[in-house]
């Protein structure tokens, strides 16, 4: 029985580096190739040795698909393609391809910055990797090879994020990557058609949560920033160059405009200009509101947000500064933090995850006395706030997507085991489909029952229609024809057409049967009795008595001869084609019962 196998190397019952292997109809696909930011040794990458043991990577894998530009989904890609040795095709959307190198460069900088870091990719490797990437459009069916095709659907979450349908023949898998079922300030909601895949692999970060509206969180954020600025304090927002930063910029820009605020907002990195450039370039990927207003006013051309110079940090008075990196572990954000931390009027807002060991992680966990370099103790008096703006589908959203796509099976990844377990039961109850949640390294096998589409020739269809078989979707009907398998497809055609197409000569296959009848009369008299008998019984059929003494009923031929040893026994030779098998069998059994006495 055909089967689909799924093995997560990462994101199986965890929210770490996503990397999922799918085998479908003999094709092997890797979904995402992420890294774990929490480690700085080999543990940051998925363990690819499980793939390399199957021989050369490029021979084993048919393609790699990246769902979006976050590093936990694409961070290991240059390592995989340039250092582990995968040389095959890589697919992602156009915005992901454009933005991915920025994030990879950003992360490389942080990493090579660390002493003793080895086994990490270079700038040239990032470029070489990106050159292997084939960028795809939404809803464009891309033929990876003759059998394997993929198609991207809008996923919300971040600019360029996509869900991918992977299809081989009539078997298919949909991988959601990270997605968001409610539109946010700059992106729309995820959407997929009713594609009824054999398997839907869905993220489940918020598997048990019904998230409060993002609007509430945004209001809260604006309130906190506003209050701090009003009392003359400074607000530091450590961010990575791209993603969350743009969303928060739009938020503050509109708020500043509406409230007519004067306090300066600065953005500290050169990368952001490029990031904003991409948001402008891929305006079609943003939400409807941004697209509509784009002509009058481009959301990404900020009036209030200016470039930051390191000297500004000492300026008196309130200000808001977006600074990189996002975890307060190096560079400008840390430098500003150290300057402002001692003043209780100031505030730092952490909008994302922080790795253990970073200043960001420490202050988020409530530590207020930090040992900095040279054993200086930095006392943190400023307010510390955490705001989650991450855009994932919540439990409701996940159920909504399942309803939309109508999969035959569901597999959950990118979430915590306990929460997944809860959602799994809910899915199984509501949709009556099997739901799986393999751990990393565990293989889930799903048996599929593919329906095989068959084309029907127009000639055959017309012929069937003329004999009253009008096609009707609701009433399936039996149709006779010859099934031809040619050029990887199936067609039902008339036998004549099949012969013609395949260049074959027709052979008649006839069944014959001898029936013994006790009748002392002459042969022609027996034949006449048989004829009369059949004519009487088979009123709707054409029964003929031919001049040569034989009888035909449709294509069935009956001849009578005397038995060589017993003249009182007549032998009836009945022969029929396989098309008239039913009638032939019926006739034989009829004759075997003997002829009625009254038949003259």
């Amino acid at each position: 029985m055909p089967e689909i196998k799924v093995t997560p190397l990462g994101a199986g019952q965890d929210v770490g580096r996503s990397c999922i292997l799918v085998s479908i109809a003999g094709k092997n696909v890797m979904l995402d190739c992420g890294m774990h930011m929490g480690y700085n040794d080999d543990r940051r990458f998925p363990d690819f040795s499980y793939i390399t043991q199957n021989g050369r990577l490029t021979d084993f894998l048919d393609c790699v698909i990246i769902s979006h530009f976050h590093l936990d989904h694409c961070g290991a890609l240059p390592y995989f393609s340039e250092m582990v040795g995968y040389d095959g095709p890589i697919y992602m959307t156009h915005p992901t391809k454009a933005i991915c190198p920025i994030l990879l460069e950003d992360y490389r900088k942080i990493t090579v910055d660390k002493k003793g870091e080895t086994n990490f990719f270079t700038s040239q490797m990032i470029k070489d990797c990106m050159k292997k990437v084939v960028a795809v459009h939404l809803h464009q069916t891309v033929q990876v090879d003759e059998e394997l095709e993929i198609k991207a659907y809008y996923a919300g979450h971040v600019l360029g994020a996509a869900m991918f349908q992977i299809k081989v023949g009539c078997e298919s898998v949909v991988y959601t990557g990270d997605y968001n079922m409610t539109p946010d300030r700059h992106l729309g909601a995820a959407w997929i058609d009713k594609c009824r895949p054999d398997l839907l692999i869905s993220e489940s970060t918020y598997a048990t949560t019904i998230r409060d509206s993002k609007r509430c969180r945004e209001r809260d954020f604006l309130k906190k920033v506003h209050e701090t600025v009003e009392r003359g304090g400074k607000v530091l927002i450590p961010v990575f160059a791209l993603g969350r930063a743009q969303e928060l910029c739009i938020l503050l820009e509109t708020f500043w405009e509406r409230m007519n605020l004067k306090a300066p907002i600065y953005f500290s990195t050169g990368l952001t200009e490029k990031a904003n450039h991409y948001y402008k370039l891929f305006i079609t990927w943003t939400n409807q509101k941004i697209r509509k207003t784009f002509v009058q006013r481009n959301m990404f051309e900020f009036k209030h947000i200016k470039a930051f110079d390191r000297a500004f940090a000492d300026n008196p008075g309130p200000m808001v500064v977006f600074a990189t990196p996002g975890m307060l572990h190096a560079g400008q954000s840390l430098q500003i933090f150290r300057k402002w931390a001692g003043n209780e009027k100031n505030m730092v807002i952490m909008p994302g995850y922080c790795v253990q060991g970073t200043v960001g992680h420490k202050i988020l966990s409530g530590q207020r006395k930090l040992e900095m370099e040279g054993r200086q103790i930095l006392e943190v008096k400023m307010q510390v706030e955490y705001m989650s703006f991450s855009a994932h589908a919540d439990a409701k959203g996940i159920m909504q997507l399942i309803r939309q796509a109508e999969p035959r099976n569901v597999l959950l990844v990118h979430g915590e085991a306990k929460k997944m377990e809860f959602l799994k039961q809910k899915i199984e109850q509501e949709f009556h489909v099997s739901c799986y949640m393999p751990a990393n390294g565990e293989t889930t096998t799903i048996f599929t029952n593919p329906s095989i589409p068959v084309d029907i020739s127009l000639g055959l269809l017309k012929r069937e229609t003329t004999i009253g078989l009008v096609p009707d979707v609701k009433k399936p009907k039996l149709m006779h024809g010859t099934l031809i398998m040619k050029d990887n497809s199936f067609r039902l055609v008339s036998p004549e057409q099949a012969l013609k197409e395949l260049g074959l000569a027709e052979h008649q296959l006839r069944f014959t049967c001898r029936v013994h009848i006790q009748d002392p009369r002459k042969e022609h008299e027996t034949v006449l009795r048989v004829y009369n008998h059949l004519k009487g019984v088979l009123k709707d059929y054409s029964v003929q008595h031919l001049p040569d003494g034989s009888i035909t009923v449709e294509s069935i031929l009956i001849q009578a001869t005397a038995h060589s040893e017993d003249q009182g026994t007549k032998v009836l030779l009945v022969s029929w084609t396989y098309q008239d098998e039913e009638l032939g069998s019926y006739l034989t059994s009829l004759l075997k019962k003997g002829l009625p006495q009254s038949t003259a």
Binding site: D59, D113, K115, G243, K274, H329, M372, S390
Partner: protein, 852 residues
């Protein structure tokens, strides 16, 4: 123990020591982790905690750690007492216990408390519902593996039935657990034999130690079972064993199973042939099979015969690399690798046109022919064969002579099948050509082999037709960007070969024609709408200039083409990667235009000033980092090659560059600037001579010394010092480190002999207020704000006297140490980790789900 080892151990001990602070924090951490009411800790924290314990116990076998920190055993006890511990905490506990039990002393200590038996024994987690969780099984295997360093642990496991658990786990649904179980068995077998055997084994009387005996029996039983999965597990184990252990006893083990393994080659009921190649390869590589080498080679020969070509490929390429491989085996291995190539050649040829690669009597090509004529297997077989050939050709010393000419012809045939330029009449040929048309995978692999083949001699007569094939690929609009890149790589390698040849004979007409054709097609490619193609084209051009810039024909053909002009146009490409590659290409072009000894008379466009100005413009205005990084790297290259003119010109040039890059937002551009300064300094010293002063100068001597010291004046005028000192305070640490290195280099040159300073940071009496200010500022490191450039705060970075004094007075060694201590602010100390875990308790739930 060597001194170096001792130093490493001392350093590791110091770094990971159980300090007083740590031992005070640890009980709280243990209590928090064992508390089921607390939300689970971040997995990375638990991993890092285990890393720390691994380091703590690595060089310390004593029981002190567990005795002095009873919270560790209490923690294990309390986790065991929990009715339903979380799988991650249970897994952590199993691994922790294993790490602690790695030394015999601590093992006994834990045994006395009956902790190990409760964790790893029959009544432990392995009989609970939690065993269903892969992380618990994985923790169990890892725990056992960690403790398996002494005999009591071995006996504990074997006597308690634990070994059967490991046998079962070999077939675990989790790949990770199954693989870890297999590795554990290898380790146990090796450890058992090596620690418990008193006398060497003889082949006749195999008296294995008890644990080894159990494992070997399990291997033998599995090999004889009818279950493919059991056989596969044992084959995996053996492959790993023979790969990692080179002890003589492995030969005894092998002799016991060799017959069985051999039978798998011909066995049709169990399909494990695909695993045999790897196993046989490991055995063939192992140096211990001296006495049985003959039978091993016979087995390898049989495997090469019986395995399918795809299965036999890795074995063939592997054994060809073994120096002592017998000639007949070598020939057979080569046959396996060359047969598909031979078939291709024969399929494409007219009868009797070419001899194939192989003598037909060597092997029967029927199998390979049937594989090549099937759509599903053809591409796979060819890609694998090509990959093996590339591997073979990339070896520095080829162990065999390959028929290079025929191989090249076969490669060309494949490439022509792929682009539809060849559709032979023979049935096999036409089938293969239909399968291969537009097949990128095969194209990529074939071009890789083609590039590798360029190193070999003996293909020269085919060069003309080879370039026809390559040019067809370069020209065709259907060529996929990745394939095009590989075509460029192969072309550049073969162009170098062509040039070598044309130097030695009279083929220059042909060379000229080929070069013209290449540049013609390159011109078109530089216009490509696809940035990947433009970028690969520019990289190709740079590679060509690098290799062939000394060749007249090359220079002439290049300069008479449109390529240089188009390359310059690409300096304004919308894609930053392309602009960067254009900068590099233009920089290299300059070597054969304006920097060439006999600059060709080709108009004003190659004027040195023009090019420098253009690149300067990019350095100061390009909005993206890649082109700016490329400019600074080209400038450094020019400087190294002495292309920037006389010292005076160079000084002006460097000064301009410094002023442009010192405020660059990209840290790598600033780092490039420092590299340029370093090259400049060493070149200046080379040209002007090193300073002669060998003593700490007294003021009267200083003046005359300074006056004499032209280099110092040059550096001051070029604003080198302000850039270097300012970089010391850069918030990107690698900049500070590099600047400090350069300054230290200068200091060593100006003050070759120095008296050591006694107190760190004490102000020198000679330091005026400005240098004292500089000293103080530098101590603040990246916190220093508004670092002065010339004029502010009284530091005159262009004053030779001040700078010489600054070099002497400022404690650069101390700064260097400080900067090198950590280049980021991620705290890695165990104390910080413990604090973080403790602080996170109760706060993590809100934040953890937010992965992005």
């Amino acid at each position: 123990m060597s001194r170096q080892q001792a130093w490493f151990i001392a350093r590791a001990r110091h770094r990971f020591a159980m300090t007083r602070e740590c031992s005070l924090l640890l009980p709280h951490v243990c209590a928090a982790l064992a508390d089921p009411r607390q939300p689970g800790s971040d997995d990375t924290c638990l991993e890092k905690l285990l890393d720390w314990f691994r380091e703590l116990t690595k060089f310390d076998p004593t029981v002190e750690l567990v005795q002095n920190n009873p919270c560790l055993t209490e923690f294990i006890t309390s986790v065991l007492a929990l009715p339903e511990p979380s799988p991650s905490i249970l897994s952590f506990t199993l691994r922790l216990a294993g790490i602690l039990a790695a030394s015999e002393n601590r093992f006994q200590h834990l045994q006395q408390e009956k902790l190990l038996v409760r964790l790893f024994g029959r009544d432990g987690p392995l009989n609970s519902a939690l065993w269903e969780d892969a992380s618990v099984r994985s923790g169990w295997v890892e725990g056992v593996h960690s403790m398996m360093h002494h005999q009591p642990a071995l006996h504990f496991l074997c006597d308690g039935g634990g070994i059967d658990v490991i046998f079962t786990l070999q077939g675990d649904p989790s790949l990770f657990v199954a693989s870890a179980a297999s590795q554990l068995l290898v380790h146990m077998l090796t450890f058992s034999v090596e620690s418990e055997m008193t006398e060497p084994l003889s082949t006749k009387d195999c008296d294995w130690p008890a644990c080894a005996q159990m494992i070997i029996k399990h291997i033998e039983d599995s090999l004889q079972s009818s279950s493919s999965s059991h056989i596969e597990q044992s084959l995996k184990l053996l492959t790993s064993l023979f790969g990692s252990c080179r002890a003589t006893w492995t030969e005894v083990l092998w002799l016991g199973i060799a017959k069985q393994i051999e039978s798998f080659l011909t066995e049709e009921t169990v399909q494990v042939q695909h695993m045999l190649a790897n196993l046989l390869l490991r055995i063939a590589w192992s140096p211990v099979f001296c006495d049985t080498k003959g039978s091993i080679w016979a087995l390898v020969t049989s495997a090469l015969e019986h395995l399918t070509p795809v299965q036999a490929g890795p074995l063939a390429v592997g054994i060809l690399r073994i120096p002592e491989c017998p000639q007949d085996v070598r020939i057979q291995a080569l046959t396996v690798l060359l047969q598909p190539m031979d078939c291709i050649l024969r399929a494409a040829s007219q009868p009797l046109e070419y001899a194939g690669l192989l003598d037909e009597s060597v092997s029967d090509p029927a199998t390979v022919e049937s594989l090549l004529s099937s759509k599903s297997s053809c591409v796979n077989l060819l890609c694998q064969t090509l990959a093996h050939l590339e591997k073979l050709l990339s070896l520095i010393r080829l162990p065999v002579d390959l028929p290079y000419m025929s191989l090249l012809r076969s490669l060309m045939t494949i490439l022509q099948f792929c682009n539809g330029f060849l559709s032979p009449a023979s049935p096999l040929g036409s089938t293969i050509s239909r399968i291969l048309i537009n097949c990128f995978r095969v194209q990529r692999s074939a071009l890789d082999v083609l590039a590798a083949l360029s190193k070999q001699k003996g293909c020269d007569t085919l060069l003309g037709s080879l370039f026809d094939v390559l040019l067809a690929y370069l020209e065709s609009p259907n060529t996929n960007p990745t394939v095009l890149k590989k075509t460029f790589q192969a072309t550049s390698k073969w162009l170098v070969r062509l040039q070598e040849l044309s130097c030695s004979n009279t083929q220059w007409q042909q060379t000229k024609k080929i070069l013209e054709d290449v540049f013609l097609v390159l011109q078109k490619r530089l216009y490509s709408p696809c940035w990947e193609v433009r970028d690969s084209s520019l990289e190709f051009l740079t590679a060509l200039i690098n290799c062939l810039k000394d060749q007249d024909e090359f220079r002439q053909s290049l300069l008479s083409s449109e390529v240089p002009r188009l390359t310059e146009n690409l300096l304004e490409d919308p894609e930053s990667y392309v602009r960067a590659s254009a900068v590099t290409a233009v920089g290299h072009l300059a070597f054969i235009t304006c920097f060439a000894p006999e600059s060709p008379a080709i108009g004003n466009q190659y004027n040195k000033e023009n090019i420098v100005a253009k690149l300067q413009e990019i350095l100061s205005t390009d909005p993206e980092g890649f082109p700016r990084r490329a400019v600074i790297s080209i400038f450094t290259k020019w400087l190294r090659q002495g292309c920037t003119g006389q010292l005076e010109d160079t000084e002006r040039f460097v000064s301009r560059v410094i002023q442009t890059v010192e405020h660059d937002l990209d840290w790598e551009v600033r780092l490039g600037g420092l590299e340029l300064v370093e090259v400049f300094c060493s070149q200046t010293f080379r040209q002007l001579g090193h300073p002669k002063c060998t003593y700490a100068p007294l003021s009267s001597v200083v003046t005359s010394y300074i006056n004499q010291n032209e280099s110092l004046h040059v550096f001051c005028r070029a604003k080198v010092f302000s850039f270097l000192f300012q970089s010391l305070c850069d918030y990107d640490k690698p900049i500070g480190q590099r600047a400090c290195d350069v300054l230290l280099g200068l200091r060593y040159t100006f003050y070759p002999v120095r008296t050591l300073k006694d107190s760190q940071g004490a102000e020198d009496s000679r330091a005026g207020p400005s240098i004292a200010w500089l000293q103080r500022t530098l101590r603040q490191g990246s916190m220093a704000q508004n670092f002065p450039t010339d004029g502010d705060n009284g530091v005159d970075f262009q004053d030779p006297e001040s700078m010489l004094l600054a070099l002497d007075i400022i404690d650069l060694e101390d700064l260097h140490d400080g900067l090198n201590k950590s280049s980021d602010h991620v705290e890695k100390s165990p104390q910080s980790l413990l604090q973080d875990i403790l602080a996170t308790v109760g706060t993590i739930e809100e934040n953890e789900a937010d992965c992005y």
